[in-house]
Symmetry: C2
Subunit: 324 residues, 2 copies
């Protein structure tokens, strides 16, 4: 069975072999730039590993894997414009390095390039793949819209928050594994189990990301701690706390969020104190574990030999093993 | 045979039956708004009429026709952000009516919705349709990028200009007819002839649009005359004039374009005087006629009974009959 590392090498090799046009340079240079910066390539690896679960030969999964990676980077590129983020993966974002219009348009092309890659596989399954991919892409856009709406919304419920991360993050992980499985020849029910495995894993991953922003080890997590708190980002921790808080505490939290004069470290400390009061670390960890075990039980249901599942189990574990 | 009017009724009916999600409203309301504002629906009509050329039954062409209309409106929506245009078809543009982020994201969803419609046809041709559509969509983005580049470019050659309008306008008209033809069961060579018919027709259409901006009857053309001149837009007329002008005249033109104090009507008159000096109306008309007859000779090549071609001939004529 292919390991995550081997699969990642395959993805990186395929990406470096990807022939993009050169003209107009303003359109294709930003795409080359975005795709070369890297990242963990988790989603395309999941396409290939999803295929490998059912079949040793994974060649037919390579181009669809690139489709997912190109699509994922397209969403990051457009999200960065919308959030006006200057930096992504330690490099200037496309709209900063070039300009906003170039970022809009090169992102648009990436959406089409993704379809161009997706259909480079067995013709008998293209229809299925396009269906899965298109529905997922719409969902990811919906997730981003909900996330943007939350910025100006006073009250976000736990249910709304979970729906948002499901759309923005989890469905693409589910779709990556499902697309791989379909290419690998999985039965409909196995492909659905793989989708559910990925979706639940994605939920666990995103909730843990929220958790690590506050409680993670900055050296291992690779990000400054408390960024979400300082940015008043509506994370699971904040949404859940506000939902549990009484009116007085809600006001206190709102005052804290709206206080523009408070020192960074003091703000982080104050919010953390409230979180601790509501056992939010433990509660979020429970959610992470729930989703993680749902994910595992979905993988359990897939009717292939246990030994074939080992690499996906490792991948799932490594995804959640970032805080140690 | 279906007439343009009948076909347009079919398109409008299909559009009004199109079920779009309602939530998140910020994502789907702008799409509903954009698609409801209208326009001539020429491209989707071409899909259906392209199909009808080869086959009486056109049901299988309806959803792909919607795909083309949704895609076309997606490009307008994003172009309007990039050009910061406040008005489209006498209505506020999406980024003005809502905001820029909503316009980016609802445009993105439209690209995916287009694929969702495109694949609602016979499964045996989906692969072909996705190929044609994806390559065309990339081309349209390239055309928009070239067009944006021209704004800051001092010298644009005739060849560069023709390449730009080919990508930005003509290939989508070609693709609309080709997609329809493929659905109608056209042979590969007939489908290619239809593509070339549409592409040449698109070139003629765009060049005539440039011409009408200066020499059209404002009442019939439906736009204020001279808008391109006042906006310093690099049209075929300007590009061709600069290419023919000697150094002294080139300087005069540049001075005219850069003069911010000149009255609107005076500027239009001055530029028009130069155009007249170079017979630009006649030259552009010749180009229009050349492309138009190339288009017609391509339609000629298609191996179906002459009577089946009548409605497409009428459509082609009506496209170029806007000045009378």
């Amino acid at each position: 069975m292919l390991t995550l590392d081997t699969t990642r090498d395959m993805v990186n090799k395929a990406l470096s072999n990807l022939v993009l046009k050169t003209q107009p340079a303003e359109l294709y240079d930003p795409i080359r730039y975005t795709l070369s910066i890297g990242g963990k390539r988790l989603r395309p690896c999941m396409v290939i590993m999803g295929c490998n679960l059912f079949k040793d030969q994974v060649d037919e999964a390579i181009h669809p894997a690139l489709a997912i990676e190109i699509f994922h980077n397209f969403t990051l590129l457009h999200d960065d414009i919308m959030d006006d983020s200057p930096i992504r993966r330690n490099q200037p974002t496309v709209h900063k390095q070039w300009n906003r219009n170039i970022a809009i348009l090169s992102g648009d092309v990436m959406a089409f390039l993704a379809y161009g890659q997706l259909i480079q596989t067995r013709t008998d399954i293209i229809n299925d793949l396009i269906h899965i991919f298109t529905r997922t892409a719409e969902g990811v856009c919906e997730g981003q819209q909900y996330d943007m709406n939350f910025e100006s919304k006073c009250k976000v419920t736990e249910v709304e928050y979970l729906k948002m991360i499901e759309l923005k993050t989890a469905v693409l992980i589910g779709a990556s594994l499902k697309i791989g499985s379909v290419i690998g020849g999985a039965s409909t029910s196995d492909a659905e189990s793989m989708y559910a495995f990925g979706k639940n894993l994605g939920m666990a991953f995103q909730l843990q990301d929220d958790l690590l922003d506050v409680y993670g080890d900055p050296i291992i997590f690779g990000k400054t701690i408390g960024g979400d708190i300082v940015g008043n980002k509506k994370t699971y921790l904040l949404v859940k706390t506000v939902e549990m808080a009484d009116e007085k505490m809600k006001e206190k939290i709102i005052d804290l969020l709206e206080d523009r004069n408070m020192e960074r470290e003091e703000k982080i400390r104050s919010v953390k104190t409230i979180y601790d009061q509501y056992d939010i670390k433990q509660r979020t960890n429970e959610m992470v574990n729930n989703y993680f075990s749902k994910a595992n039980s979905k993988l359990e249901e897939v009717r292939v030999e246990e030994r074939r599942k080992q690499e996906l189990r490792k991948l799932a574990l490594s995804l959640l093993d970032r805080e140690k």
